[in-house]
Amino acid sequence: MDEKELIKKAQNGDRKALAELVRKYEQTIYNFSFKICRDKEKAEHAMQETFMSMIKNIGQFSGKSKLSTWLYTIVSNHCLMMARASKNKTFASLDDEDALIDEKNIAEWKITPQNIAENNELKNLLDKAIDKLPYDYRIVFLLRDVEGLSTAETGQIVKLSVPAVKSRLHRARAFLRNELNKMFLQ
């Protein structure tokens, strides 16, 4: 059964169709949620709330955007709400764009992106670096660069214009690259 048909059935209260949609997207949403929260428990909670919202509001889904775009919007909002609830965290400032390009410390990275699944040390560094990145930059970076959504789709999800998405993306990339650069050169 194709997705449109499943959505239609789900909108008419078919529980099996709802379960099918959940099954189709649970891995993607959990993985994305983890990438924002960097915590498995919080990621699971955000995923649960996302699908609960989907079930409650599926009747309002117009089909103008993709279901995945709608789910990315919901999960991003849940993660943002959870982040705002833990107020003690401080993040790096990315206001000074010139300071983000670090011309003095450009070294060749010997490390290559292979076997990352077994490399806990590298995972730890990646967690530490992205943990300093404010959530509004983090979500843009993850949607556009990591999940591979278009700039327009990303803008639709985070309610930003295409130039604003590009600016945030550019700053987020430069920031993460600099953080990893510092760690790799230590």
Partner: protein
């Protein structure tokens, strides 16, 4: 994610588009000339590309118990 081969022209298009410049504008031509010869820029782009790849490859799997907890929470099974 599959590896995509891109040509130098596509890269320049991308950079110039982000700058809001035409490909044959003086600024874009100067950038191309600089990129061709600058080892620092090549290393920088390589490190940005690796940064993105690292985050793309760092994934977590939804365990069966978490899947069951989800369906239970949603009242779907």
């Amino acid at each position: 994610m599959k590896e995509e081969k891109v040509s130098c022209k596509e890269v320049m298009h991308h950079i110039c588009d982000n700058l809001g410049e035409d490909l044959d504008s003086p600024k874009c031509r100067a950038i191309k000339e600089h990129l061709d010869n600058c080892e620092n820029c090549q290393k920088y782009f390589d490190s940005v590309e690796k940064t993105i790849k690292f985050y793309q490859m760092y994934n977590v799997e939804l365990k069966e118990e978490a899947h069951k907890r989800l369906l239970d929470y949603l009242g779907l099974e």
